[in-house]
Symmetry: D2
């Protein structure tokens, strides 16, 4: 009989000698039979995909897997790796950097979509209302605009995949309606970025918007691992920016009072 007030309680998985069950399924049966995408969906949603959700997840993970050193989290992981730490610790340092400005827009963009949908109005009007509300508060439209890509090539491809998998529905349409009103509302066209399309897909496949950042958290480790390994096998230890390259603009030298 379970303890009436157990310290540890979970509905995710159960380990007993000789058996590991994940959301009720035998992990051993999943191995080699189900894709990583299916199992990610199982862990995050509580059940196996009813349709192509697992393949959609897998496409999203591939889309987010790597973006080179043009991602501050990767630079951080490499600095840390250079200092002589175990693989998982350097990857963790990079992962901490998947912050509000770096993958965090998925969650925020999903909430904009939900708010827009709640108006109950046709897509274009709902999009206008949502965009104008943000603009009035001086906020940016999360999931639109990218520092390097215009357009972000991952967007069209993920819509294409969603289409093929039968998962391109109202949320994708609404996300595109938002793009269409950016010029009118913000004065310039803001193209959807990968976070924006991930937000739409997150809602299409029924995940909790609070899991928006999960795509990055799950997808980026292979990229981080490759960078940490490259740093530790190809570069000299202790990556040093050089004291000459740091501009100091604080107080002039001064004696102790």
């Amino acid at each position: 009989m379970p303890d009436p007030e157990p310290f540890w309680r979970t509905a995710i998985s159960q380990v007993t000698p000789g058996e590991i069950r994940v959301r009720g399924y035998d992990l051993v049966e999943l191995v080699g039979r189900r894709s990583f995408g299916d199992v990610v969906y199982l862990l995050l949603s509580g059940g196996l995909p009813k349709a192509n959700e697992g393949r959609m997840v897998e496409a999203c993970l591939v889309a987010c897997v790597e973006h080179s050193l043009v991602a501050p989290s990767v630079d951080a992981a490499r600095f840390v790796a250079s200092a002589g730490v175990p693989l998982q610790a350097a990857v963790a340092a990079g992962m901490i950097g998947l912050g509000d400005h770096h993958g965090g827009a998925v969650d925020a963009a999903a909430r904009v979509l939900l708010d827009a949908a709640e108006t109950g109005r046709p897509d274009r009007e709902a999009a206008l209302e949502a965009a104008r509300a943000l603009e009035a508060e001086g906020r940016r439209l999360p999931g639109y605009g990218h520092p390097v890509h215009d357009p972000d090539p991952r967007v069209a491809r993920l819509f294409e995949v969603a289409d093929v998998l039968g998962l391109r529905g109202r949320w994708c349409a609404l996300a595109q309606a938002l793009e269409a009103v950016t010029e009118e509302v913000f004065g310039r066209t803001l193209r959807m970025n990968v976070d924006g399309v991930l937000a739409a897909i997150l809602l299409e496949i029924g995940l909790d918007p609070a899991l928006g950042k999960a795509f990055y958290v799950i997808a980026r480790p292979p990229g981080f691992v490759a960078h940490v390994h490259e740093e530790q096998t190809r570069e000299r230890p202790y990556r040093d920016v050089g004291w000459e390259s740091v501009e100091y603009d604080g107080p002039d030298p001064r004696p102790l009072p």
Copy 2:
């Protein structure tokens, strides 16, 4: 023209406006066409699978994806999550805990296999020699024995998958030869655990043994995400073990000198 001595240099991927290439392949073409396992293999090895390596990677990732709170890293992630931190930071705290005693045996076990193979002797003799060398130094055989499972159910299943995929070769045989000599050398049968079989597969598919821990680092985030989300949505904030449950056995109360 690239800087003659660039601060940042990588052979992993290249980002230019409108294009992301991973090991030379267009990321957009990979999306929806290649599995996550294929792309992990691409990132870690430098090339796409020539045969079934990607499917093997995917099976290994599924095998490692979750082991409930019977993994100290998960307990750590949940304590941290309870304190009110963003998803990725709580996952990172758990990831740091994939230490030498928790996933670290893959790397060590791969080295034992390599050492055994270097003897150039038949499997059983090579295994005996390697096991005896460890025993003489008072060391354990990494990748054999498990605190909960005996046998570990993931082992037979991963061998089965390797067999089907045409990847069950000499390293798998050597790993089993090691199991077969444990009673003779260590005085009791030590069954191979998931780290042991992962070590053999790592070598079968030609990855650097230094990447042993990469399976866990890449596979566990979905499990961590599920636990962090469950903690933050189902439990009260600030998980408290209770002062009464902590046994103190340090110095008695004493006055300041």
Copy 3:
């Protein structure tokens, strides 16, 4: 001549061969002449204390240095340490756990004090207004109430020290005024906790409220170090809660569809 657009720019410190200057002062001159508290104040505020701010900081750091396993961050650090990771990585895992519900109230409490002060009204009225505003929004009063201590013994002592050091001013008075109105507003007396008094002191010594969590971030590492070291020298590796102690309440065993 500095680069017109340097990638790295800082007003904190300057390193040149043979010299390290912190906010303009020679670090070597600070060593052995200035307390850690003074130097912390220098780093955070930009200048050395004009009066007793450094001694106040040092008292605050001592007050926050350790709270045993009755702090989820410490439990996390010990789980991670048990898995076989370097000292700094296990401490970092604990530090991530200094989240919004664990040290985060200093910042929030400082903002309540600032809001109350902005009303321009006498302390009691300002306190009532601020407390009622929180109550109306269904929010708690940050910095008041503690899961173990009632009262928190660190509070009276820090006020005493502030008094002796000539730093007990309007913010301390306002913080106490808030305590005095809790029964009237929230229906029960909420005693100030260590976060509440730290918030008042933070404002007394003129630090940015955004640095509220800095007291914990700076004070806790010695405690974390002691716990990680104790875990790694006194306990068995791989701290295991035991599969029997985890209550599973998810889906029943089910076959793959």
Copy 4:
């Protein structure tokens, strides 16, 4: 009566309602009466200083508190901070980077001193033997040589402070004997760096050499906090190295097979 086999056990501190005891002392009595250095020593050694150990610790902490962006851990913390994460999480990312090549030499240098002392020979001969043993293995002398400073200005100052505090004994002498033989053994003079002198002091004050990295772990957070705060208040979010500045030297663009 304590549980016969408690899950959590510690000799560090005890929390009961209204009281926090650290190594037996009332934390409240320590506040304002004992320096941070004394309390660090108490936590790490188990007892309060018998002589000037606390002042020595405080001097060491000040010496290590900050080294600008000429420390990869600080660059990492700033990249992570720029991505929009809470203060403690960005500091933790930096802290992970206090790896074997970054603060890790204290521990290693202390072990060299212990090995040298174990020879039982006069300092110069012991130093020669220890240095030659390292040289024969192709290893470097940990704690000697610095990428920027020659000499490291913190060294002479810490010896001076140790002298004044009556803590400059045999370990300091032995560390200097090692410096004196570097030219003979390694072919060039290697000046002691801050890690080398910290190693000697660690042994003078009787701490466990395994705590070598503790000086950095405890000393650096104020510097990390200042950098994270500066990044988040003075720089734009999402620190981007720029795709043009990353040199890619991997495979040329290639089509999917």
